[in-house]
């Protein structure tokens, strides 16, 4: 009895023993930098400490024997070790391994500008695109204030780093979009078709982009559509160019939504007030309907559909360049349908799936006629007039399917791979006075396979390696290309990155319709970038060299003997914080480029390339007036223009050449939000007033020449300035806080 009791007492005593152990030490990372705020714990006890600003910790414990010492800290991998506690001092120094995390890790920025609402690499966000003064709510026009782009006003498209407009491709939710812009009208650049509010993320890459994308020699604009709306709402708008109405319904469980929008644009009233240089015999008129549904299929899964239907028509007349008594009439009817269905989901622990499919159909009915002063059609059967009257129906169809699988490997390193299939059918039906329905068409089944890996060696050093295989059934050619980039983070929030890649692109449909005996055209990019990004400022400088091979030549016969290069330096600076409620960015591009392609007689600077281009965009919100003022100014040195004529032997030579005047365009816009701050208000109103080229600078984009080279006419915008006034009302959404937070 006694013995037992004594044993038990001893046991109890030892349990309540006051003999303490003091643990202390210093916590550092592998570079020897002390880590403050780390939690040191004796597992399953209350005892522990938090490291101080010099990484030191110190605590006492009455515990005894075998225990686990555990250390955790945000941004570092957890650490633990078995220890045997003994009374007295126990010094233990600890080293923590940095967690490779996306927030701290370096990312490749060479060649790429991201405008997104969530990612930290954001340079512009979607509101920036809408409020850029010169953009008039056109996504690509806002992109044209970034470095690397040209101010080309006579033709739609993004002309990037010495590349033509066809060399930049646009992708929505991962898949290629044909006919992103409204159908071409001679000498007048057309707008993008899609509403900027449709997109939550935009990545503009002016080179060296990922193996997930291909068939673009110069640039890719990658757009990501919005997810579920915040709530059910309706909206109407009325402007100087038309009206619109829409409805978005969010399901009660917040897991699904659908919406419809209709836009009607008619330029008749506007053209009646603001005279246009061409004589519009058929006023530009657009019917545009959109529909969408979005379903959250699980916590991480999302299914999205977007459908677009457009009909538009226009007709305009200009003085004929070869005759003072004749006119040229151009008429266009366009039908365009586009549908995109995408699905993304996280599969299991480390897998992500992205599937996108899209279909587009575009039909252009173009009619050009030669007319007399009474606007009656003329038929003149000799050069150069006989080729000026024709009718052409062009139909394009594109169906795409793309699947990307991503697997996380250790830490944040990942591999991505997948495939893409594009079915493309092109038809034209051409008639003139002597040709009756000349039909041409082709079908291309294009497949691509790609794989890419993001390798994070440390948070400060990352590499992206990729490869892409492509095969075109029509060209019967395949290619396989490497893509590689590397980024290294310097101290002080700066980083350098380098990108290299090879890019192939099929020749344009106009050539493919008549032959498939072509190679892919090829470009090789080398890009070196330095970027310093803080919450207030963005500074970037980028230098690049791009080499073109196998460009299409049309003289003496059509072949792939063209070549060229582009090199340059670009700067970007954005400052949001130095002045209150004042935000601005500045871009500058220097471009040196020459190419020998199409009918060029030699390697020369193309007419879509200016040597120096600079843009400044300024935004200022005046809280008390509930008004935002936006201005943008763009400058570009003159672009070369050429009159290329064929001699008797069919050999081209430069009959005349020159440089256009420098390009200066100052634009303003004002957004007024009268219901701002009225929290109980059920409607939200935005007034928009904008004007481009307010100073009325003479803008000359190019020159057209008569067939004999004697008459030379400047290509200028259809009107000196463009004005816009609109009022947009949404019901059901109070966007007050949205606007507030934009401007805090």
């Amino acid at each position: 009895m006694n013995k037992t009791f004594i044993t038990l007492t001893l046991l109890l005593l030892s349990a309540f023993s006051f003999a303490q152990t003091t643990l202390s030490g210093i916590i550092k990372d592998y570079k020897g930098k002390p880590i403050p705020g780390a939690s040191i714990t004796l597992r399953d006890t209350y005892d522990g400490a938090t490291s101080d600003s010099s990484g030191r910790y110190n605590f006492s414990t009455p515990e005894k024997g075998e225990k686990i010492l555990a250390v955790t800290c945000v941004g570092y991998k957890p650490w633990e070790q078995n220890i045997t506690l003994h009374a007295g001092q126990m010094p233990i120094n600890i080293m923590l391994k940095e967690n490779l995390d996306e927030l701290k890790a370096v990312i490749v920025t060479a060649g790429s500008f991201e405008a997104s609402d969530s990612k930290r690499t954001t340079v512009l966000n979607s509101i920036d695109i809408v409020t850029t003064a010169s953009a008039n709510a056109d996504v690509t026009a806002a992109i044209r204030t970034l470095p690397g782009t040209q101010q080309v006003g006579e033709k739609e498209g993004l002309f990037v780093r010495g590349g033509s407009g066809e060399e930049a491709k646009i992708f929505i939710d991962g898949t290629l979009v044909n006919n992103f812009f409204f159908s071409s009208v001679p000498d007048i650049a057309q707008r993008g078709r899609f509403n900027p509010f449709l997109f939550k993320g935009t990545v503009f890459t002016s080179g060296g982009y990922s193996a997930l994308y291909g068939q673009a020699l110069s640039a890719a604009l990658i757009l990501e559509t919005v997810d579920l709306p915040e709530r059910t709402s309706a909206n109407v708008g009325l402007s100087t160019v038309g009206l619109n109405a829409g409805y978005q319904k969010l399901a009660k469980n917040n897991k699904a939504s659908w919406g419809i929008n209709y836009n009607y644009t008619n330029l008749l009233p506007y053209f009646a007030i603001v005279p246009q240089k061409p004589d519009y015999f058929r006023m530009p008129l657009y019917h545009n309907a959109e529909t969408n549904f979005r379903i959250k299929t699980s916590r991480t899964g999302m299914l999205k559909f977007y459908g677009y239907f457009n009909y538009n028509q226009l007709g305009l007349r200009n003085q004929d360049i070869d005759s003072s008594t004749l006119k040229n009439a151009f008429g266009l009817y366009n039908n365009n349908e586009y549908a995109n269905l995408s699905y993304k989901e996280v599969l299991g622990r480390n897998w992500k799936l992205n599937i996108g499919t899209s279909y587009s159909h575009n039909l252009d009915n173009v009619n050009t006629d030669l007319q007399n002063q009474d606007n009656e059609n003329q038929h003149i059967p000799y050069y150069p007039y006989f080729q000026k009257a024709f009718k052409v129906d062009s139909r394009s169809q594109l169906a795409t399917l793309k699947t990307v699988l991503e697997k996380r490997i250790t830490g944040i390193s990942a591999v991505r791979f997948g495939g893409e299939y594009l079915w493309n059918k092109e038809n034209t039906d051409y008639s003139n006075d002597t040709v009756f329905h000349a039909l041409s068409s082709y079908v291309d089944n294009f497949t691509a396979l790609f794989a890419e890996t993001d390798i994070y060696i440390t948070n400060d050093l990352a590499a992206k390696l990729g490869t892409r295989y492509e095969y075109s059934s029509y060209l019967k050619k395949s290619d396989i290309v490497p893509r590689a980039s590397i980024a290294y983070k310097l101290g002080n929030k700066g980083q350098v990155s380098f990108a290299y890649g090879m890019f192939y692109q099929k020749p344009e449909r106009n050539y493919l319709l008549f032959s498939n005996k072509y190679l892919y055209q090829k470009a090789t990019h080398y890009i070196l970038n330095y970027q310093k990004l803080t919450t207030e400022h963005t500074f970037r400088v980028e230098a690049y060299y791009k080499k073109y091979n196998d460009l299409l030549k049309t003289v003496p016969d059509t072949n792939n003997l063209g070549y060229g290069y582009a090199q340059g330096i670009e700067l970007f600076w954005r400052d949001k914080k130095s002045l209150k409620n004042f935000d601005y960015w500045i871009s500058y591009s220097y471009l040196d480029t020459k190419r020998d392609y199409l009918n060029y007689p030699k390697s020369m600077q193309p007419n879509f390339a200016a040597t120096h281009t600079a843009s400044a965009v300024v935004k200022k919100f005046v809280l008390n007036w509930k008004t935002q003022f936006n201005a943008s100014y763009t400058f570009a040195t003159g672009r070369p223009y050429y009159n290329l004529m064929a001699d008797g032997a069919g050999k081209y030579y430069i009959a005349d050449q020159g440089k256009t005047v420098t390009y200066n365009n100052l634009s303003f816009s004002v957004n007024y939000l009268p219901r701002l701050g009225k929290k109980d208000s059920k409607t939200f109103i935005v007034w928009v007033l904008s004007a481009t080229n307010v100073l009325g600078n003479k803008l000359v984009y190019n020159y057209n020449y008569s067939a004999d080279g004697m008459n030379k006419v400047a290509v200028t915008p259809p009107a000196g300035r463009f004005y816009f006034l609109g009022c947009f009302i949404s019901f059901g959404i109070d966007r007050t806080e949205d606007v507030i937070n934009n401007n805090l």
């Binding site: 939690s39 806080e737 949205d738 507030i740």
Partner: protein
Amino acid sequence: MKKTILTVFAIVATVAAFSQSERYTSAMKQNISMLDSALSNGKIIDLSNNFERIANAEKTQWLPYYYASYCTIMDALMREDKKQVDVIADKADSLLTKAQELAGSENSEICVIKSMIATAHMTVNPPARYMKYGKASDNYIEKAKQLDSTNPRPVYLQGQNTFYTPKVFGGGKEKAKPYLEKALAMYTKFVPATDLSPNWGKSGTQWFLSQCD
């Protein structure tokens, strides 16, 4: 003999159990008493770690996780440099998830912290994130009110949010004052369920009210 041993064991077990729960209560009380001072002297991470340590050792109590989450999110909200805010808010969220699992349901106090977590995420990039996180923050305030109409904390958060909203957008001191006054009145009536239950925010309410005049 057998009886004695059993008795002793019973005593030991009781003492151990009692001392365990007393140790928990006293440790919690001590840490809770430091909440206000930790916010002003920069020791909020230390305090969060203390609560998390207790939580991990106890394994069945929701309150230490709740307080650890509260301290963590206060750290996120007070940071000038927004770079780490998302990661810290995610940590607060994971602590709160554990608290909710142990509490068995999403109670009013948990909704209050959820609102604060959403606010912290929003502050990283307000223009882009308002639609998601700003709305979420408001919704959790409403939910917290619904789950416990006597809880002054959601009303206090509402007053605080209004206080920081510029006048021209329908915020400002005058608009905030009624919320803060209402919160203060509710604080004087509010009786926490236990000694350890959440009871913070009164001094903050008084501070904001003093700034309203």
